[in-house]
């Protein structure tokens, strides 16, 4: 019985330790901007014309802030215009490191579409080498300019 209790306590501690505590802002921009300016772990879903891009801040790493964009869903408009490309894009991630400007990180995040080559990696960046480049850049710029300014 003692061993069983020890094992259960160890399991509970391990599972709790594994969890990444990140503020989920839903679609609340004020909440996310506040967290982003400190590069605090947080996430927001950017919704625009049926597109759903999840923006996650993972925290600071030396002098950079680790940011990730994941395409959770694409709207009917993009799906009908680019059916094959849409199937590829959904679920994929772009992982970026922006300069940790702790007074105004949100501006650094806004510059991501221009800094894709330098600051980012991941499957979406590899897709940018192909025919998706203009689709992704223009959609990102549209989403950021409307939601993060």
């Amino acid at each position: 019985m003692t061993l069983l209790k020890l094992v259960l306590i160890l399991l509970a501690v391990t599972i709790t330790g594994c969890s990444v505590i990140s503020q989920n802002c839903g679609t609340d921009f004020a909440c996310f901007k506040n967290a982003a300016n400190n590069c605090a772990p947080s996430r927001i879903n950017l919704l625009h014309d049926g597109n759903n891009v999840r923006l996650t801040i993972r925290g600071t790493d030396s002098d950079t802030c680790s940011v990730s964009l994941k395409v959770e869903e694409l709207g009917q408009d993009i799906r009908s215009k680019y059916p094959v490309e849409s199937q590829v894009l959904i679920g994929k991630t772009l992982n970026c490191r922006v300069n940790a400007n702790l007074s105004n990180n949100i501006n650094e995040i806004y510059k991501i579409p221009q800094a894709l080559d330098r600051a980012c990696s991941g499957p979406i960046k590899d897709l940018l080498k192909g025919p998706f480049k203009e689709i992704i850049k223009s959609e990102l710029e549209k989403t950021f300019s409307e939601r993060l300014k």
Binding site: L3, L4, V7, L8, L10, L11, T14, I15, C18, S19, V20, S22, R43, T56, R58, S68, K70, V84, E85, Q87, V88, I90, G91, K92, T93, L94, N95, S121, G122, P123, I124, D126, L127, G130, P131, F132
Partner: protein
């Protein structure tokens, strides 16, 4: 119980030293399987949700193949470790040394978990360093899931060994258990093609959890926040199976 566990652990390690060649075979045969796949699965993937990423078939199957190999090897490694030593056919050293059954099970689990973890590390290096499959994720997350899968295989093999009365039973049960895990893993029938109720069970099976997590990490580039629940699920599987085996072995009649 701690002394019993330590003594059982040392006995298990010395038994492993005696089985040098067969253990080396277990360690390196997956390396050969990965090598063969690296050179044969060369077709470029230009269909489905991974088109245009310049992936080869090897990159696509790696996250299914590596956990399967790992589970197969680690389960086979431990499936005779208790049944093979039951009296009267097996050694009575542990009874003579007054190691408790709990200590024996725990000591064997720890020793074999180290070996299983080593297997996981070898498969990681084979699959992502020497014959590199596409990977968009930090190595630590990939290695973590491979280690958890390896330890799960080891504890499942030990528990099969506990429930088997003879070596023949254990050797027959092991592939059946593996087949069940394989069928529910999404590697034979895609998870989203299964009927809803079976899908609910399948997505929580350990091989499916491992393969799906590796796919999301290596090919979708997701972060740890997207797979952290899968770590918890695998830990629950590991501890759950370990506790079942421990309780059965502790309280079975001699």
């Amino acid at each position: 119980m701690f002394n019993g566990t330590l003594n059982a652990f040392k006995l298990e390690l010395s038994s492993m030293k005696e089985r040098k060649l067969s253990l080396l075979f277990y360690l390196f045969s997956p390396f050969i399987i990965i090598w063969i796949n690296y050179y044969s699965a060369n077709t470029l993937v230009n269909w489905g949700s991974y088109a245009s990423l310049n992936l080869r078939l090897y990159d696509l199957i790696a996250q299914r193949l590596f956990p399967m190999i790992l589970l197969f090897v680690t389960l086979q490694l431990t499936v005779l470790r208790i049944v093979g030593e039951r009296a009267p056919a097996g050694t009575l050293d542990r009874d003579l040394m007054a190691i408790s059954r709990s200590g024996m099970y725990t000591g064997k689990f720890i020793a074999n978990a180290f070996f299983a973890a080593l297997q996981g590390i070898i498969i990681y290096f084979a699959g992502y360093a020497i014959f590199p499959a596409r990977n968009y994720s930090p190595p630590i997350y990939i290695l973590g899931f491979l280690l958890l899968t390896a330890i799960f295989g080891a504890v499942t093999g030990l528990t099969v060994s506990v429930f088997s009365k003879t070596k023949e039973q254990a050797v027959q049960l092991a592939p059946i258990i593996l087949l069940i895990f394989l069928l529910f893993s999404g590697n034979v029938v895609e998870l989203n093609q299964m009927p809803q109720k079976i899908q609910t069970i399948a997505i929580n099976s350990p091989l499916a959890i491992s393969s799906e997590s590796l796919r999301m990490l290596t090919l979708d580039g997701v972060g740890f926040e997207d797979v952290q629940m899968n770590v918890a699920k695998l830990l629950i599987w590991i501890f759950g199976i370990a506790i079942i085996g421990l309780i059965k072995f502790r309280y079975e009649k001699k």
